[in-house]
Symmetry: C2
Subunit: 346 residues, 2 copies
Amino acid sequence: SRNIRLAVIPGDGIGTEVVAEGLKVLEAVGTKFEPTHYDLGAARYHRTGETLPDSVMEELRGYDALLLGAIGDPSVPPGILERDVLLKLRFAFDHYVNLRPVKLFPGVETPLGDSSAEDIDMIVVREGTEGLYAGTGGVMRRGTPHEIATQESLNTAHGVERVVRYAFDKAMTRPRKKLTLVHKTNVLTYAGDLWQRTVNRISEEYPEVTTDYCHIDAASMFFVTQPERFDVVVTDNLFGDIITDLGAAIAGGIGLAASGNINPERTAPSMFEPVHGSAPDIAGQGKADPTATILSVAMLLDHLGLQAEAARVEQAVADDIVERLAGWAARTTREIGDDIAARVSG
Amino acid sequence: SRNIRLAVIPGDGIGTEVVAEGLKVLEAVGTKFEPTHYDLGAARYHRTGETLPDSVMEELRGYDALLLGAIGDPSVPPGILERDVLLKLRFAFDHYVNLRPVKLFPGVETPLGDSSAEDIDMIVVREGTEGLYAGTGGVMRRGTPHEIATQESLNTAHGVERVVRYAFDKAMTRPRKKLTLVHKTNVLTYAGDLWQRTVNRISEEYPEVTTDYCHIDAASMFFVTQPERFDVVVTDNLFGDIITDLGAAIAGGIGLAASGNINPERTAPSMFEPVHGSAPDIAGQGKADPTATILSVAMLLDHLGLQAEAARVEQAVADDIVERLAGWAARTTREIGDDIAARVSG
Ligand SMILES: CC(C)[C@H](C(=O)O)[C@@H](O)C(=O)O
Ligand SMILES: CC(C)[C@H](C(=O)O)[C@@H](O)C(=O)O
């Protein structure tokens, strides 16, 4: 089989460090791949004023998949890199499924004293191309006492139905077959009504799936007090953003949380990235945990049909985690990558 | 001094049960008050089709304060009672400060295994009259494959500045004097920019207050992993809704979370209510914990200038909680109310 053509976007802060370890593990698993690096992020922005030129965008479209570290730096005003690089990619490549497993690896410590690995095992299907992320809105009389600033959440039948359908399909692959819609239908009545009606309608095609509904505020509480309520969660872009960071927190921390920005029809490459950000405060110090990126590489392999390789990477991570808990000394980013790569190839 | 004129809105579900105990404690504390009950909620809606008539609205305006149980019932389509009763009151009476303490009482069990009472002691100042709660938005081509549903977040300099100023004043009363803005400035760039600029500007008037910023996704994570980061939190209406339920979860559960919908200029009465909802699944069974309502009564007393009475109610709750943890048998709603009332008067 031909090589996997991989576009690599290390990005900002710890992005570079964690992506290097992700690639190391990809190498170790024996997959043939050709990585091409793209220097998008704060450095390029300061050097050239560019964020993501159209020509680069078109090149990226030709790859089998994208691996991204993290985007965002305090030296750039908030939103510029996020909107013009990360969100632009998600939107242009129609990554309407933002897939974020929330799974406590056996042995990992959760801040929830009473929960165990069986209780925390869900997958969040976050919509990736609509809602408040559309970027619509505006400002009038900026900087005056009469300023008004607006943001708009855009939700379409097309956009909601396809992600809900994906979530039902995902629920069918799981033993509990339970799908929970998380929204705020009692306040966001227009958007909530569209989401709820869509779930109700599609659920008729999936009689084996139990469907449930939970307001975002209650869901945030239940993530902490009763995480076992959730199996597959489907939710909009912003609620998904919030709840998956919370999910990372309960499942052992942001150092372990992986994600895939998926285009299920494969009309453009999907993109894999850790849930964490660029963490400028610890960048360049070898302190970042590359595990989330390595698990994102496993999701990438799975997406490309390499299930056995994906499973080997996941198993290596699980084994590594067990040893960490047995009381290893703190390791650098590179040492963790080395250890997991050794397990994968060994 | 004249009697406190109190409008009581028990509402739906467990609202009736918990409000009865709140009033019992108010009675026990020896304050002279005259309660008038208003039957707003699902029952009235089904009987008369009315939610909150203008005439009732005008009557309510004449009280010193409002005590509310909970609004919302599954027999009514989502949003109707919430918007036409609860949110209507918050908006019409300009409750721009929704004050929600997140405080772990000594001895209370938190789901966060490692945290203690010193770590979880913050106060969330949630904006109460703007943002996505404005209710603006719409739907086109409803029920067709071309449906589009929108929601709009409206933010004004006037609305943001007054709540931010309140939060700074609140921070000045606290030993740590730290204020954290929670928002999502990297995605909600127009609204986020208004919030961030406002905090920056007002902070110059409060040189003793340390200000900080945290994205809503990261804040949700930190509530679980590092709650000690937060002292006073100021945030918009929706983020505040989410984060205060999460706050309730980490501070011993929704049974203890109190809130005040405050009109600081007193141009209309303020309204006090537990953070929890109407919980129709356990309504009428004496299972609800009235403590959140009783603590809301303490906030009410404080707001009306009865600091000593407020402190007595809070102390009675704290003492009651200590005894619960010493291993009391489960008590009914009424028994908990009786016990706390006895401590208050005793
Ligand atoms: C960096 C930011 C724009 C992004 C988001 O909000 O989606 C991040 O928080 C994430 O969850 O991937
Ligand atoms: C019932 C609902 C409209 C309300 C809100 O969203 O504000 C509730 O969740 C709250 O926090 O008081």
